[in-house]
Amino acid sequence: MKKFVMIHDENLCIGCEACSVACKNENQIPSGVFRVQVHAKMKGVFPNLQTDFTRASCVMCEDSPCVSVCPTGASFKLANGITLIDENLCVSCKYCILACPYNARFLNPITKAIDKCTFCYPNRVSDGLTPACVSVCPTDALIFGDINDNNSEVNKVLASKSVEYPKAHLGTKPKLGFIKNTKGGRYE
C-alpha cells in the first residue's frame, strides 16, 4: 500500500508562492481562499535577522481531528494517508474548521463545501503525476512520494535530513513534514 508524504525544505524555499498559484489554477480555487500559502516571517533586530518560510496547508494528519468531528462522514481518510472531503456529503457545518489545529480548512465560496489541500490526489496523484505545487516549485523545495517505496525521493530525504512535523506535540501525526530553516543571522 502506498503512503504519501510531502516534505517542505525551508532552506530551499524562497517564498515565491508559485505553489500557491499552481494550486489555485490546478484545483480551481476561487479568489479569496487558498489551499496553500507560504508565509515569510522575519525576526530579529537589524542586522541580526532571520527569515523563515513556512508552508500553511493541510498536513494530512494520520489521526485527523477533522475526520473525527465530521457528523456526516464527508471528511474521510484514504488508506494511503490522504484526508479528503466528499462535497456531496458536506453540510458546511464547519465543525472540522474548528477542529483542525492547522487552520487548513476553509469554505469554498463556489462549491459551498469545505475545502482544503488534497495532495492533488483526485486530479493528479491518482494518475501518477506529482501534486501541482510540487511540480512547479522553482527551487525543488517540495518533495513528494511514497514512504513505502524504498527508492523514493522522500525516503532518501528522510534518511539524510532531520525532518520535523508541525505541532508534533498534538499527536496528529502529520504526513507533511518540514526541514527547518538554518539560515540567518550575521557573522561579522
Binding site: 532552506n11 508559485a18 500557491s20 480551481q28 530579529g44 466528499d86 486530479n123 550575521r186 561579522e188
Partner: protein, 752 residues
Amino acid sequence: MQRREFLKGSAFLGSLACINPVLSANAFTKGDKKSVFSVCEMCSTRCPIEISVKDNKGVFINGNPKFSTNKTSVCARGGAGINQLYDKNRLIKPLIRVGKRGENKWREASWDEALNLVATKLNEIKEKHGASSVIFTSKAGESHTHMSNFACAYGSPNIFSHYSSCPITYNMVLEHTYGGGLSRDFANAKYIVNFGHNLFEGIVISDAKKLAKFAAASDTKLLVLEPRFSVVAAKADEWLPIKPGTDVAFLMALIHIWLRDEKYDKEFVNEYCIGLDELKASVKDTSPKWQESITGISADTIERIADEIYKAAPKVVIDWGHKTTTTYAEYQRTRAIAIANALMGNYEKKGGIHTSKNTNTLNKIIGEDIFPTLDNPSNVFKVPNTPRIDGAGEVGNKNYFVSRKHGVLMDIAPAILSKKPYPIKAWVNTRFNHLVNVANVNESLKAINELDFIVSIDIYLNDFSNLADVVLPESSYLERDESIATIGNGYYMRNKAVEVIGDTKSGFDIFRKLASMMKIDELYTYTTIDEYRMQQAKGNVDLLANLKKDGIVTYKVPSLYLREPKTIKEFAKTYPQIKDKIDSNGELSSLINFKTPSKKIELFIEKVENLFPTHGCLNTTDYDVFKNHEFCLTSGKTPIHTNAHTQNIPILNELMSESPVWINETKAKELGFKDGDLVYLENEFGKIQVKLMLTQGIRPDTLFIYHGFGRNTPALKNIHEIGANDSIVLGSRSGYVCSTMVTNIGVDIKRA
C-alpha cells in the same frame, strides 16, 4: 472507489468564473485534452513551458520537462499566464481615442480602420517632418526585433529598448572587458559574492534553482552585500548590509588587498589580461580602512573576505547581477566586478565564469558543422545612418558606447521638450510602459503632450497606452507563434496554445501588415511567421517539426570549460576532432579569444579612457546616491509581479495588491512614524505618496519599494491609484559611459 470517482468529477466544479465568466465558458467539460510546449512571456526570462489545454482552453502551466535545467518548474507569474489570458481587463479590440489625450475616452475600431489610420498618419509625418521625427520604443525580445525591422524600413534611427533602464551596464562592461557576454557557473561554484542580485525575488528559474541549491549546501559560501535583508540575503552564509551606492568602494578595496598581497592568479593575468599597472595605480589608495567609512564594512571584515575569496578561487563567482542601475558610477561598479573575476582567474574554469557554448560555438570548437544553425532574416534591416535624438553611437556624445538599436530611454523626454537635435512628432510603442519603468515621469508626461501622434501596442490599456491616439491589442503569448530562439546548446520556440480571444493580432503580424500597407516592405523576405521560421531554420523541416512538437530541441553535449583539462578530456571522447587543439597542460588555449581591441581582458580600457578620461580604469566619481537627502530610496523585484506588467492579474493581485515602502523600524519610531502611516517621499524630481512598512530588515538610512505600482489608468481596475510609482522621484540624468538609468536616489520623508 465510488468516492474517488466522485472526487475526480467534482474536483473540477469550481470554475474560472471567478476570473472571467464570459471568456471561460466550458473550461472543464470533458473533452479534448492536449499539451502544447511553448515559451513563457510573463517576464523576460523566456522559460520553456508546457500548457495543458482542454477544449481549446488553457488550464494549467508548468515548465517543459524536456528542458532539464528547469524541468517542470515555473514561478508564480509563469503559472499565472493562464489568468492573464482570461483576464477580463485585457484589450481585445483596437481602440481609437475620442476624448482629449489621456481622458480615457475611446471607441472600438476594426483592424482595417485602426491600421489605416496609423499608416496614413505615419506617412504624413514622414512627408512633412522626415522619418526621424518618429521614435520607437519596446520591451526586450521578439517585440523589439519586429518593431526595429519596421522602424528601419520606415527610415527612423530612433529605436529604443528597455536596455538602458536595466541590463545595459553589465552587457556593456562584459563586452568592454572580455569582448562579449559570459555565464556564471552557479551550479559548481564554491564561493559566490552577490551584490544584491536577488534571484529569489527577480526570479530567473534556471539560475534561482542553482543558487538555491548552492545556498543550501554546507560546503559553499554565499556572501550577500545589500542594504536590505532580501530573500537572497536571508539565504546567505554572510550578509553585509552595505550602504547603498558604495559597492564600488568595497570592490576597489578588495582589489587593493589582492594586489597589495599579490593574492591573485598571476599566471592568468600575465597571459590573458592587459592594464595591470593602470589598475594598480587606480586602487593605490583604496585601502580597507578607506572603504570603512564609505561602505560601513569594517577593514577586518574585508581583509577576511579577500582572503576567503582568494582561497576559494577559481571556483568563485563574483556576480554582476542583472538590474545594474544603482548609481551614476554603475559602469565602475560593474567594471570592478568584471576585474575582480579576472584577478581570481576563474575564467573558463568549472565553478567560475565562462562563455556560452551554444550550437554555433560548439561547431567552431569542434571545427565541424555538427549541430544545425540558424539564419537571421532580420539581418537585412539596418538602423539608418542618420543622427539619433540621443546621439547613441556618435563620437563626442555621452552615449557613444550605446547600441543604436537600444538607445537611452531617459534621453527621449528631454529631446522632445528641447526639440534638439530636431523636433519629434510621433511615438510608436510596443509592450513597454515608459511611464512606470523610466525615470522622471513628470518630464515624460510633459513631453508626450507635445506630440502629434502616438501608437501603442499592448495587451492591457497601460499608463502609456492610455495616452495614445491608437491602441492596438496584441495577442498574448499563449495565442501566438513566434520565431526560433537559442537556449543553451539548442533551440526553442513559442507555439500558440489556444485560439485568439477577441480581436487581437501578434506583434509580428501588426508590424508586417503595416509595412505592406505603407509599401515599405521591399526588404521583407517573409509575410508570415511560418515563413520567417522556415528561413531561420534554413529549410530544416525536422528541426521545425520537433520545435513545434516539443517546444525545445537540445543536444547532449558534455560540458566544456576551456581551461579545465578534465572536462576537455571528457569532451574529446565524444568529439575527437578537438584532440590536436589540446595544449600540453590539457587546456584549450587556442580557442580562448577575447574580442576586445587588445584581444585580451582589459583591466584598463584605452578606448574608454580616450573618450571618457579617467573612466578607462576604476574610479569612484559620483557614487553618492544620497546627494544630501536623509534617505536613499532603492527598489527591486518581487517574485509575484514583473516590473509594471502583472499587477492587475487577479490571482497575482490577490497575492500582492500593493507595495508599501520599507523603512527601518527603529529609525521610523525615532522619527515618530507608525506602520501604515502615509508619507511623501520627495526630492528635486517629484513627490510620491506612499504607505510605510516598518521592518528590521533594512538599513536605517535606506528605503525600499517593490517597483511597478502607482498606475493612473482607470482601465486597470485592480490597481488604479494604488501605491506609488517610484520612477516619479528618479532623475533622467544617466550613469557615466554606459548611460544606465539610476534607480537609487536620495529622498526626504514628509508627513502626508
